[in-house]
Symmetry: C2
Subunit: 191 residues, 2 copies
């Protein structure tokens, strides 16, 4: 039997491997075998930690990715006095991601969201919770400057980031992202 | 042997079925068998019309969908004097689509684009050509009013539409789309 610590480490490896595969291959393109092989975990450990199988792993992976981005947003807004500087930093992280992965990876949960849209999958629910938490954090950071406009602007900013990443990935161009970055700064300053 | 007309009709049915399935299920979720069964076409006709198999069908389907939306954009901009009215009409078509399909369908090629991003698939190339043609038509329609700002604004508008549809589909809410619609009208008027 695995000890508690070793078991926790195995679980964490499976979740991390699934998060990476869902990011680059999407939901239908990610098989259980690929997750196990990437995690270097035996099949038995998978069903021990995730009796619900693929969907239970995917929910944990999306939740972890979503929380990572939420925490990164909070940290960026804390690091920068002006929220537009924090938003620019976030854009630059995504720009680096596009370049490093040759446009394979942008928002790590967007492919999964679209594949599962229209279903009642718990994985889609996890995606929705992530988007809502990101919008909340952006709105919270904009509130001192934008007041009651903060919530709407946060929603527009998230739509712009997601849409620009989608077009950038499809057309192999950073231009949509750079235009979106500049416009988001205007959306924050102009209000 | 099929006559020319019957063969053309079969080909068109296969492309239409593929377009519909790629829209709602994405690339990895769409199998050749499902396309055949939806099209009511025999397997032999598929390889007769599409010796390249699934990718050749998907390229034809994405190109047809892309051309349909491009033509709809041109028609909307011709029908309305003010380009913001045409853009509003396009948003309302997508809003109706979300509601009718219970958030299963938004932009009909976005799921495929994200699934294939980072690959050198000809299907991804077809998606990129579609996005570029839509941006061109929007820019052309904005040019008389916005001059040299038209191209950048067209790119922002496409990013907003795509991102808002993605978040709307994921969160089962029309709010991101309505905010994006209002902001696109501002982007056209304000320039």
């Amino acid at each position: 039997m695995e000890g508690v610590k070793k078991g926790d480490a195995t679980r964490a490896q499976i979740v991390a491997a699934a998060a990476e595969l869902l990011d680059s291959q999407g939901y239908h393109g990610t098989g259980i075998n690929a997750v196990l092989s990437k995690a270097g975990a035996p099949r038995g450990s998978l069903y021990f930690h995730f009796p619900g199988g693929k969907d239970e792993i995917a929910v944990a992976a999306v939740a972890q990715t979503g929380e990572g981005i939420r925490a990164a947003l909070v940290a960026a807004f804390e690091r920068h006095k002006r929220p537009e500087a924090a938003v620019r930093e976030v854009f630059q992280i995504f720009e680096a991601r596009l370049v490093e992965t040759e446009y394979a990876c942008g928002c790590p949960i967007s492919t999964v969201s679209l594949e599962l849209s229209g279903t009642d999958s718990p994985v889609l629910e996890a995606c929705a919770l992530a988007y809502e938490s990101w919008t909340e954090e952006i709105a919270r950071a904009l509130e001192p400057q934008l007041g009651r406009k903060a919530q709407d602007r946060a929603s527009l900013i998230l739509s712009l980031v997601e849409g620009a990443l989608l077009i950038a990935r499809s057309t192999h161009s950073l231009r949509p992202l750079r235009l979106a970055e500049r416009h988001c700064a205007e959306l924050i300053r102009e209000a």
